[in-house]
């Protein structure tokens, strides 16, 4: 019985094409990433077998969406970088627990959610609970014009999002930027459906209220 030649080095060879440094890019664009669900049973099987090439491909495919989600939650690129690496290492270690019949997205984002929540919990000033009372309903003048301007100033929107409580931020990001259904968001955040719905609703109202309050001070013209 002869000892097997270790495959580890041969397995690293495909990465010689992947590991190089193009320039860092900053992208200003809408929802990134066509999402090919890992529905091809072939790829899911290769992932479970811990095929390094399959894992590298998946890391590449989900990088933008995952990074965007993490950045929305923690704001700082340095923290998002760390969480990004942490999430993937954890996913690679737990890949045998991934059920190929279910969505890879929700599984991956659930891991990212846990890692991000751990970080936020340790930050002073970030509360992870749902705020007790929903936002006050602000009776505003018809602000259709202001609303139209809002969608133009999407950079301001991003800044406003940062001011929301973490749970609202997350719910809005998953719902609108990732386009996830309520059931998927519930899986990712380990929260009941009704809670998720209420977070989206209150988050949106809170955002609107914050923006309306800000513009009452500013001169719109």
């Amino acid at each position: 019985m002869a000892p097997r030649r270790p495959a580890s080095w041969a397995a690293l060879r495909p990465f010689s094409a992947v590991i190089r440094i193009p320039d860092a890019v900053m992208i200003y664009e809408a929802a990134i990433g066509e999402d090919f669900p890992v529905a091809e049973t072939d790829e899911a099987a290769r992932l479970r077998r811990r095929d390094p090439a399959a894992l590298a491909a998946v890391v590449d495919r989900y990088q933008h969406r995952l990074y965007r989600y993490l950045l929305r939650l923690v704001h700082e690129p340095a923290a998002a970088d760390d969480l990004f690496q942490q999430t993937w290492l954890h996913a690679a270690g737990q890949i045998h627990r991934y059920d190929p019949r279910r969505s890879f997205d929700t599984w991956l984002f659930a891991i990212a959610h846990n890692a991000a929540m751990d970080l936020l919990r340790r930050r002073p000033g970030e509360s992870l609970d749902d705020p007790d009372r929903g936002p006050q309903w602000a009776a505003t003048e018809p602000d259709a014009l202001a609303a139209a301007i809002a969608s133009e100033r999407s950079a301001i929107l991003a800044a406003e999002m940062a001011g929301l409580p973490a749970v609202y931020r997350e719910a809005l990001t998953l719902r609108f930027e990732e386009g996830m259904k309520i059931e998927e968001i519930a899986e990712v955040t380990h929260a009941p459906l009704s809670t998720v719905k209420s977070r989206v609703q209150r988050g949106l109202e809170c955002l609107r209220q914050n923006m309306a309050a800000r513009w009452r001070k500013e001169d719109l013209l």
Binding site: F15, A56, A139, E205
Partner: protein, 145 residues
């Protein structure tokens, strides 16, 4: 509660596309009469549209490379551990068979207590080597931290 108050929470849900047909109908009926809620709904809908189109920063290519390298290293380490375990067990088995054969041969040729002494000595030597190597490794790791 007035219809105004009951439909108010539904407005945000409608803007987020989370209402069923019944809820949508109620909202539409209400905003026909109430300009305030109509404006609010328009605002919320614009917000929702804006949220789907926010700019975002891409991860740097260096981050991607680093992450892929770490994942690959983790996989390689795991495979290394497994192959090491298998080879260790195989080595143990083969070594055992060879030792038994040698013992049998030695026994058939007359026997000699020196073999027993050698076995004891080798076990002690193994323990000493292990202690030295582990100490050295721990020192290296401590200097790396």
């Amino acid at each position: 509660m007035t219809p105004h108050e009951t439909t108010r929470p539904l407005l945000a849900l409608s803007a987020a596309g989370l209402l069923d047909a019944d809820g949508e109908r109620r909202v539409r009926e209400h905003i026909r009469e109430c300009p305030e809620c109509a404006a609010a709904l328009a605002g919320l809908a614009a917000l929702a549209a804006g949220l789907s189109a926010m700019p975002s920063r891409a991860p740097s290519a260096a981050l991607l490379a680093r992450t892929q390298a770490r994942v690959a290293a983790q996989l390689a380490a795991r495979r290394d551990r497994i192959s090491g375990t298998v080879l260790a067990v195989a080595g143990c088995g083969c070594g055992w068979v060879v030792s038994l054969a040698m013992w049998g041969a030695w026994d058939a040729l007359g026997g000699n207590p020196a073999l027993l002494i050698w076995l004891e000595f080798s076990a002690v030597l193994a323990g000493l080597t292990a202690a030295v190597v582990v100490r050295r490794r721990r020192r290296i790791e401590r200097s790396l931290r």
